[in-house]
């Protein structure tokens, strides 16, 4: 188990959570009974329609998953399932410290164990930070409705929570290059690209995307639960050294120092969010 993991939670996520609570007048967390029910429904579905990954079935992948669980510690208990799909995707739902992770088979076929550690870590990050307790779509489906402004903040929170989860992904895989490769494969479907090329590609595309979001009259780019991949890359690139230092547990990680970096990243993502809002209003 690694100490201070909680400090990896993206500060912007916390700030947006406070805004949502203020706007809605309460903290709309999933009720205990409903959360348990959702977990049970999902587990039944996974046991019925997917395949549980055990040490007997896929020893290397199971070991990688266990190593990620060990990093998190805290007595979490959850199994890993695979379902046939050509899409690179994974998901998790948690209730208290129980959860199940589902990965699509394309990930197991095409990703290296280290890259899978990033994926597993990302999903476990959602568990660690209890993102399942706060269901954006549940709130949006409220028959009384929420304002567009509140919906905007809810999606921002969702995107910020993905940044927090990516950080745990990097913590589990241990190398920025591995996380970058996983993101690059997810976006492009391509393998075997030189690391320098991938980095240059992401950096340039981030700059163009940031400009595009600032200037284009795109009314739908804000309706996203996940940040666009070049933005995820940028958020990881800036936080990577501190996350690697935290993983080393050799005293190189400073909570105070990381908060300063975290605030810079929040400033970048908030500027993108606000630009998107301004573009919609114009």
């Amino acid at each position: 188990m690694i100490k201070d993991i909680e400090s990896l939670r993206f500060g912007y996520e916390t700030d947006l959570f406070r805004i949502i609570t203020a706007q809605l007048g309460n903290t709309p967390l999933l009720a205990h009974t409903r959360a348990k029910n959702l977990l049970d429904i999902r587990r039944t579905d996974l046991l019925g329609e997917a395949v549980r990954i055990t040490a007997d079935l896929l020893p290397e992948i199971h070991e990688t998953y266990q190593s990620c669980l060990d990093i998190l510690g805290h007595g979490f208990s959850g199994e890993l399932f695979v379902r046939q799909s050509m899409e690179y995707n994974a998901s998790v739902f948690a209730h208290e410290k129980k959860f199940d992770v589902l990965v699509h088979s394309a990930l197991l076929n095409d990703f290296t164990p280290d890259e899978l550690a990033f994926v597993f870590g990302h999903e476990l990050g959602h568990v660690l930070f209890e993102h399942s307790r706060f269901c954006v779509f549940d709130i949006l489906s409220n028959p009384e409705g929420v304002s567009r402004d509140t919906a905007d903040i809810l999606f921002r929170w969702s995107r910020a929570s993905e940044v927090s989860a990516d950080r745990v992904g990097l913590l589990c895989c241990g190398k920025l290059s591995t996380a970058v490769t996983a993101l690059f494969k997810t976006a492009s479907g391509l393998a075997g690209i030189d690391m320098d090329q991938m980095l240059r590609s992401f950096r340039r595309q981030y700059e163009d995307l940031e400009k595009q979001l600032r200037e284009a009259s795109d009314d739908l780019s804000w309706v996203r639960t996940h940040p666009m991949i070049p933005i995820r890359f940028k958020a990881l690139e800036l936080a990577a050294l501190d996350i690697v230092a935290l993983r080393q547990q050799s005293g190189g990680f400073s909570g105070k120092g990381f908060r300063a970096i975290d605030q810079q990243i929040a400033g970048i993502l908030e500027a993108i969010d606000i630009n998107a809002v301004c573009t919609r209003i114009q």
Binding site: K175, L199, R203, L238, A240, V244, R247, S254, G257
Partner: protein, 177 residues
């Protein structure tokens, strides 16, 4: 890996990012700084007066001054480098800026200044300042990214004396002297 002696070097390979942590416990008001030369020959300095930027050139940034006050104890300053690709050299420096302004000598030879250099793959290298030279600015390590096969980290321990810092070239002269 430890680079305790001047001239010791390590091939640190194709890392993309570095976190440089300078630590000392002796009572001295040291500051961490980095001078650089990029692959187009552009030179610059990141120090407490120009903290740098992680998301724009020079893609390096100094943390806040955490060793103010000339006090003993666990003093630490951190420099993060998020993109090294376009840099040819980065020189990691320690100075006592108060002494630099006066042109007086700092207490390097009584100090226990050391660097820990952590790369983005989690490999760390320790570099110890190894000089008896008098001065108020010490070059501790050089990140030499000029070669085709990846960067080298070199213990460059040496000290020199500045009287004020009117132009960057004065510092570069000490580095290359």
């Amino acid at each position: 890996m430890e680079l305790k002696q001047k001239g010791a070097e390590a091939n640190v390979g194709s890392f993309k990012q570095l976190m440089v942590t300078m630590k000392w416990t002796t009572a001295a008001d040291f500051d961490l700084a980095a001078a650089y030369e990029d692959k187009n020959g552009k030179q610059g300095l990141v120090y407490f007066g120009e903290l740098g930027d992680l998301n724009a050139f020079p893609f390096m940034q100094l943390s806040g001054d955490e060793g103010v006050g000339d006090t003993g104890g666990d003093n630490e300053e951190v420099m993060r480098i998020t993109q090294l690709d376009d840099m040819k050299y980065v020189w990691i420096l320690c100075w006592d800026y108060g002494k630099v302004q006066d042109g007086a000598a700092a207490r390097f030879n009584e100090s226990d200044v050391s660097l820990t250099v952590l790369d983005d793959k989690g490999t760390s290298h320790d570099v110890t300042l190894d000089t008896g030279d008098m001065g108020n600015v010490a070059l501790i390590a050089t990140i030499d990214n000029s070669g085709p096969i990846g960067a080298k980290l070199v213990n460059s321990s040496k000290a020199g004396t500045l009287k004020g810092l009117k132009k960057l070239q004065d510092l570069i002269d000490i580095i290359n002297g």
